[in-house]
Symmetry: C2
Subunit: 346 residues, 2 copies
């Protein structure tokens, strides 16, 4: 489309800093004839302190009108843990039915990895985004007493699993290696695990060219560090995906480079793009945050909206920038954003 | 005590091979005047195929009479996933109230690690063993239909959390660095997570010398590969502990070296010691399995029963054996067991 109507949620901590670099690169990469409109939403810790609100219905309604959402980071130590995560970030993912939480992991040349021998890493995690232990189901009885019982309920539906598994097969089918790994823990979480496995096998019959594989989540973490090259596309549950993608980020150059998309494939609601990293309050406002993860999230956003050429240009610019960065003195958030904006504009 | 009445469950796959090396080293290390009695229990895949039984009540009752249990591995591809895990392994952990699942991780000299730079790794994970998502709570509605709903309920009690947290503080207090990290996901699993955190803070008041720390499980996996030296003692939930200890094993030389104890600290029931690795059916019966994890589990068993000197002798023997192993041709399961038995006997 020849216009992008973008909602921007800078959020907390380093969120505003990295988002402004993301927008800088977005403006630089877009052709003249694509009109970019942005509207910023003041949501996060400051708003909560001021008004007690996390995400009022009116704003949720307004957000629906955008083509996509760019989000920085949510979470601050001054707010009780869970209030903003559940009341804002997860509320958005659930309300907008972001059932595909897409997290690509690629070890680019010239980036540091804690792994010896620099394995070939290039995989995508398709994390389910609207079910599992993230539903908020559960509760606490006799809270705060020695007799307290607290439960967390992982809710999984065939409807929810089938659609994300199918999306993952489609992605695997479109990649050269055509390999899909299901990660779960079906030897312990037998109800959810068996349903996932059954649906995974069933949908797989429609994709005879895709090679499949199953790993328990504990074993998967081992392969992430001993043989990450074995992975192509991974599909997994909301919580396992959360854990695995932080580990994936760590082995592919760190959380400063990890991008993600919270995608509603059917397009009924705007998809939301955000760096995998958190709000990092300890370095907020110091110009130390690496905006690359946000810039790469902008690339995912552009690809989602059909601007493939621009997405690729951003990814090439990041690769070139990382190559240049190796051995050079550290640059500020702003300097990295500027350098990337210059590169994509060329 | 001057006698050990040990139950042995060799189990499936490589279980029998590694257990026999564990017993060989155990016999070799014990002083003449300590009488070792062992009784083997035929439990696992073969038994299930033959009789349909996983762990009959009579055997569970018999097992209670032993001082400790040595277990090899449980699980076989010929048995539906979960049947033996839930019906035998977890049944033992739950029936014998093994609420401390103790998993030490140490990167010994001369062992391979996938991490560049060989960080200093020496920490202990205290994994809760009787609650959380492992309770088997949950179910499936309209199973096998497109309308299926499957749930898994994580059950957490103040009683269960308090006792394992206290055990972890005791262990941290007894170590030189006196540092304890709680790992959970209290920004999403707010009911269980807040209870864990509250109890962790409360019990901590009794241990003013112990430095404490909290990490979300996703962030913890990052530090396991970028800065594992930061950890001393970790206390965590059953499922997070499962995931983290496989990753810990991977970065400290692999699953072939990782030992564990399922401990009932009060001694009301026998504690159970087992390698962290699984039954590895692909290499079973070929003499390829590394029995070191089982031998180190025997050391934990001896320490638990008060034979500290013998436990230490085994650990020294393993360190010396690993040093010798570096660069040498691979040895068989039996050869490694023999070498360790000779060393501890000296
Ligand atoms: C902040 C938190 C709720 C979130 C999650 O657990 O999904 C984050 O860790 C992520 O991975 O996007
Ligand atoms: C086999 C399985 C049930 C078990 C677990 O999940 O606890 C194993 O992975 C372990 O860590 O001991």
């Amino acid at each position: 489309s020849r216009s992008i109507n973008l909602a921007v949620i800078p959020g907390d901590g380093i969120g505003p800093e990295v988002v402004s670099q993301g927008l800088k690169v977005l403006s630089a990469v877009l052709p003249q004839d694509v009109k970019l409109e942005t509207r910023e939403y003041d949501l996060g810790a400051r708003r909560w302190h001021r008004t007690g609100e996390t995400l009022p219905d009116a704003e949720l309604e307004d957000l629906k009108g955008h083509d996509a959402i760019l989000l920085g980071a949510i979470g601050d130590p001054s707010v009780p843990s869970g209030v903003l995560e559940r009341g804002l970030l997860l509320k958005l993912r659930f309300a907008f039915d972001h059932y595909v939480n897409l997290r690509p992991s690629k070890l680019l040349p010239h980036t540091a990895t804690p792994l010896a021998g620099r394995p070939d890493i290039d995989f995508v995690v398709v994390r389910e985004g609207t079910e599992g232990p993230y539903t908020g189901n559960g509760g606490s009885l006799r809270t705060g007493t020695p007799a307290e019982v607290a439960t967390e309920v992982s809710v999984n539906t065939a409807y929810g699993v089938e659609r994300v598994v199918r999306d993952a097969y489609e992605r695997a089918q479109a990649r050269p290696r055509r390999k899909l790994t299901l990660v779960h823990k079906n030897n312990v979480l037998v109800h959810a695990g068996h349903m996932w496995k059954k649906i995974f096998d069933k949908v797989g019959e429609e994709y005879p060219e895709v090679t499949t594989d199953y790993l328990h989540v504990d074993a998967a973490t081992i392969f992430f560090v001993t043989d990450p090259a074995r992975f192509d596309v991974i599909v997994t549950d909301n919580l396992f995906g959360d854990i695995l993608t932080d580990l994936a980020a760590a082995v592919t150059g760190g959380i400063g480079l990890a991008a993600s998309g919270n995608i509603n494939p059917a397009g009924a609601f705007p998809s939301m793009f955000e760096p995998v990293h958190g709000s990092a309050p300890d370095i907020a406002g110091q110009g130390k945050a690496d905006p690359t993860a946000t810039v790469l999230s902008v690339a995912l956003l552009l690809r989602h909206l059909g601007h493939e050429a621009e997405a690729a240009r951003i990814e090439e610019a990041v690769a070139a920038d990382l190559a240049e960065r190796a051995g050079a003195p550290a640059r500020s958030t702003d300097e990295i954003g500027d350098a990337l904006a210059v590169r994509v504009a060329n």
